[in-house]
Each structure stands twice: as structure tokens, then as C-alpha cells.
Amino acid sequence: MLKNYFKIAIAVLKRRKFFTFISLFGISFTLTILMVAAAFIDKTVNDTYPDRKRDRSLYVKNMELRGNGSMNSTTLSYYYLTHYVGGLKTPVKLAISTNFSATNTYVNNRKIPINYKYTNADYWDVLEYEFLEGKALSKQQIDNAERVTVISEDMKNEYFGEDSGPAVGKYLEADNVKYRVCGVVKNIPITSYSLYADIYLPYTVSKKDLVHDKGYMGEFNGIMLAANKADVPKMQQEYDQMVARLPMPDKQYNKIYSHADPYIISYVRTGNEQKSGLTIVLTILSLFALFVMLLPTLNLVNINITRIMERSSEIGVRKAFGASSQTLVYQFIVENLILTFLGGLIGVVFSVIAMYFINEARFIANLELSLNFTVLFYAMLICLVFGLFSGVYPAWRMSKLNVVTALKAS
């Protein structure tokens, strides 16, 4: 039966080439936009380089203090992370680092902007950076406050030149301090903002006094690593209990919020308890998808109705010979799905071309969009929704056609 529908669908598509072109253009273009968007989202939130242990990690990013009429929300202090978070039982390791900040350096009368980030030793165990040369900062180096650094591949090319040979052992100057390069890592895009930096430095060489500041708020964030996946909920619970027991730092506040989140939730957290980042992101995404899909769907519905009315004699004959409305609706939806999947196929080709140009233009450095199975799966899903949406109403209109008028129309 399906084979028959397929044959009919192809025959119908061939009959009015102009209409087929309009339908396919609409479908494939819409899918291209949605697929590029899906590939972008997939790359930003699903790419697991360098945090491959994401499924057994929890991210601690900020703390919010609230009182009557006052609110303060910012990243955490080193003291808070080592003293309170470090005291938890479940995490086996705790990566601590600052968010990246910018400085400049001047080499041979050339200015190079540098984004730097301070890390502790566990950071290099929790995160699996891919080393092109050398190795990570060791615990000993960090404890001794040695002036060593791990740099990104881009930084190496920028600072030492493209074909300068190995960078390990060379010195890099930033803020008037010379650091010895001990490793070069593969680039990560700036969209992974909590892990991105050009140079990674030991937190002990930071020029600020970290040990004596006993407040909760500072410049650091942490990643807690559990021994296995099953321990993650336990770890989260333990963290929440710890936060509930924290003494108030100041009389003007009466509530402390801080969360240990899985990656995606931490990625979109706004730093404001009253505005859930996830809700905002989901609303924006659905509005965008609706905006992109609404017009082409309406257009497709319109064209589908036109095409069905054209086939009224065929429908009339089939009805006269006893085909039920249900069969006809089913047939038409299948035909429409075939059309959408054909459009989807073209859309895949278009989006591969679009992604190629986006990658070539380097809108965001090191962000390489690619088509993978997750994105393809979403594309299939979107096709299905699209096909059903644009097929149901015309099919319903068709099934209601009166046999006599349908036959007479021809």
C-alpha cells in the first residue's frame, strides 16, 4: 500500500513542477535555518571537549545573597571553594578556576590581546584538555607558585609565530611578568565561556591576596567531580545541605542561594534566582522556531489545498468506489510526509553548504559547526512535525469533499 502511495506522490509531484518547486523551496529553506541553529546549539552545549566527565560533574558558579531590598550575586571566593565546598565528602576532586579576563602584551611592537585564567591542580585532572605539546600544570609547580603556563594553540601561533617549532620551554610575557610555557592545548571556542582562555596560570601566582579574604564572594568557580554517575544526586544534595547551613555574612541579607548544577543548567543560569535561565532560553528558542516555521507552514497548507482541489475528480472516484475518509486522510498525510522528507534531504545539503560558509567566515573563532547524528535526528523530527502540521488541515478539507460535487467538478 505504502509503495502505491509513494508512486502516486511522485506522479503528483511531477505533474505541476512549479508547485513542487515552491513546496520544496519552502521546506528545504526552513529546515536549513533550523538545522544550522540546531548545529550551533549542539556545538555550544553538547560538545564535550574538554569536559569529558560532564556526566559525573556538577558546576558551582555563583552565589546570590538576598535581603529586604538588597541583592548581590557574583562568583565565589577561593576560600569558600576550598573551605566549604572542599569539605564535602562525595566529590573526589574539585577543579577551581577564575573566569577569563583580558590583558595585552606587546611583542616586537605588535599588540596581542591575551585572555588569562587562574587554575588549581585538580582543574587539569577534572578537565581533559588535549595536549599538543608538553603537559599540564603540576601540583608541585602550583604549590611553589612557579611562573609557568599552559597556552592555547592560537596563542602559540600568535605569540611565537606559525612555524616556530615547539613552544614548551619558551617564555611568554603578560602584565610585565614572564611565564615559562609548559604545555600547548587544542583551542576551544569562546562559547564554552567557563573553560575558555588563551593562557592558563597557577592560581598561586595571582597578584591578589587569596588566602586572607574570608568572604564568600570572589572571582572563582568550581567543578565538583563525583566518583561515578550514581553519586551525582548525592553530591548535589550534600551541597544544598551545606549551603543551607552557611552563616549569614551580613545583617542586610536573610537568604543565601547557591547551586551545584549539571552543565546545561549552569550554562544558562542568569545569576538571579527570580529569573530561570532555562525558561528564558527555551522561550526564545521556541519563539524563533515558531517565527521561522509559521509562514512556510501556512504557505504549504495553502498550496496543498490548491493541489488537492485540483485532484478533486480523483478523490471523487475513490470515494465513489468506497474509500473511507480515513484512508484518504492517511494517504494524503503520507504523500505530504514524502514531500517534506524530500525537502528535508535538500535542506540537509543546503545546511552543509551554509555551515561550510559559516565556518569559513569564522564568525566565532574555533567554533566548527558540523552535521552529526544528533543534529540529523533533530532535523528528522522537525521534518515530521512540519509534514504533519501542513498535511492535516488540507487532508481534513479533502476528506470532507462531497462525492457528487467532486465528480461533477471535472
Binding site: 523551496f25 595585552n104 610585565n176 521561522v292 509562514l295 501556512l298
Partner: protein
Amino acid sequence: MLKHLFKLIWNKKKQNSLLIVEILISFMVMFAVFTFGVNSYHNYVKPMGIDYQNVWVINYNNSLQTQNSDSLTLFYEGLLRNIKAMPKVIDAGYASSNVPFSQSHMNSAFMHNGKRIDGVNQFTVDDSYLKVLGAKMLEGRWYNKYDANSKVRISVINNALKEKMFGKGNVVGKSITDYEGKNPIKIIGVINDIKFDGNYQEAAIGMYNRLDTSSYHWLGHILVKVAPDADAAFEGKLSRLVSNTLKNANIEIEHLPNKLTSFNKMTLVPLIILSIVAGFLVINVALGIFGVLWYNINKRRGEIGLRRAIGASGGSVSSQLVNEALILATFSLLIGVFFAVQFPLLNVFDLPAGVYLTAMGLALLFIYGIVFICSLYPGKQAAAIYPAVALHEE
């Protein structure tokens, strides 16, 4: 004639309803795109208000151990003197983190005549700010060093804030109060509007306060106007001077023109993406309208043939079809304009009404244009129908 066409469409309203909805939504999409575009253009043509060429920003963090305001003041005044003494530096001054084209904003509320005005940008700057950025005073005067001893709180406001609070007229010497209605602030001057959010965003309301000795605890930016021949080698020297003075600080030097470019990108990229998407949506809709009209004409061959047979010219047949399409568009545009008019009436996004009206006009023209072009070819086809052939089919 029009009334007759109107009736023809009204009789087929159920058939045409989807087309009407489609045109309506296209209108709303184009209205959104044009509003965005017109607003950006409207802001773009206004003057920037400053001369940002050859202005650099030094970002540092106050890492001095002392908490004593007097020694801090002494230290930072010394640093600024050393910077000003450098050969290619024309002038320099401290500023709060909301220097032009930065993401940072600091807002506060004020009261005037019992009316509370929210979202006033607060700039803490020193006496050289006006000269470094090349801004102009419209009335009154800018700060000078004697203002440090002023008994009352004084302030310079920008033109946008002046118009919002006082409307037209002279305001120097008048006073406003803080948001609780206490503590008067005397206005000593009005500065021209500065588009500190880049070329494409409007100059927001703002107030400029002179820094005092306690400000050095939290200030972190120095604006430096340099000579046109200042290069990276000089920048390196400047950076070394600052980092040798501020031993424990991280120093970053940015250029205002570069900051402007990246800030503009943040406004332009969404506009470009939106325009590309909207462009394809419109092509899509145009093709759809074209297809449906073409089909409708094929279905009405008999009717057209009859009209031709009783003496209608080809031109009148094709103009009938084009007019029908335009009237159909008018139906949807009437509904669309009803919704669109709500934006200026309810003042939804706080944009000037003129922007909405221009955008609406452009969107109307655009949709009519599209519908007209899409109906031309089907109309021409209809005109080419031979009555003998068309009537023979019946």
C-alpha cells in the same frame, strides 16, 4: 467597480482566508524587520557626540593595600601626572567602568517635581573627561578643580535627560533631588548627547558626576587621548609605565574605535540574521501567492472567457485580477495595521512613534509591491485566454 470586486472576494472569503492570514503574518514580520531597521538608521544619522579616534582606555584593578583615601588620591593623581607627561599623550582622565562602547551600565533614579525618572546612567568622571572625548557643553559649564570644595552637590546632565525632565528652556541653576525626594542636586551644565551604546542605539539619558577622593577605591579606567602617530611601541611603553606603578594590577589597554566596532556588531548581527531570514520567508510567501493566484485563474477560465466574449479587453481582464489580489491584500493589511498601530499607542518598546509609522508605511508598500508583482503574470496569462477556447471547454 471596486465595490463589485470587493463583493467577489467577500463571497469567497472562506477560500481566501488562509491567503489573508498568510499576508497578514508576512506584514507583521516585515513590520518588525522595518521597525528594527528604521530605528537603527534613525539613531545612525544622529551625531556620535564625541571624537573617539585616538582615544584609548586603560583598564586596571585597584590593588593597593592602603584604605586611606588621602594616600590613594595622592598616588593616583601622581600616576595620572606621569601619564600626561608622556610625549604622545594629549590628555587623560579617570572614569567609571561605563566608558563609551563598554557593556557596563550603572543606573540610578532621580526625582523632579514629584516625577520619578528611572534608568539614568551614572558616569563618574574627572575634569579632563570633556576634553579627552571632545564633547561639547550646550549650556553652563563643565567641572573644574574648584568644584572639589563645593558645598552643595552639583551635577552635569546630558541633553536627553534635560529634555525628559525639563523640556525646552534654560536649566542651569535649577535643582533636582535623589529618588527619595531629599538631597537637592544643582545642575551646573548640560552636555551634548553621547551615543555610548554605539552607532545604532540612541543616546540614553545620563548624568555626569565629578569624582571625589573616595572614588579612587573603586575606579578602574583611565581614558587617554593620544596623538595620531601613537603606535603599538608607544602603547607598550604606556602599559609598562602603568604596570610598574601599579605593581599588583592586571593592565589592559583598549582602543575606543575597536570597542565601537565590536559593540556595533552586537546590534548589527541580529539585524542581518533577521533580514536574511525574513527575506527568505518573503520569497517563500511570494512564490506561494503567485502559485495560488495562478491556479485560481486557471479555474476561472470559463468566467474570463465569457467576459472576453462580451467585449472586455485583455487589459481590463488582467487589471481585474490584479485589483482583486490587491483588495485581498487590503483585507489582511487592515487587520495588520490595527495590530501594528497598538505599538506606538501603547508605547511598547519605548521607541519614537515616527519610527513605527515609517516602518508601517514601508511594510505596507512592501507587501502591496509583492502582491502586485505576484499577480502581474497570472493577470497577463488571463488576458491571453481566447474566449473561443475557454468557452469550448465547458
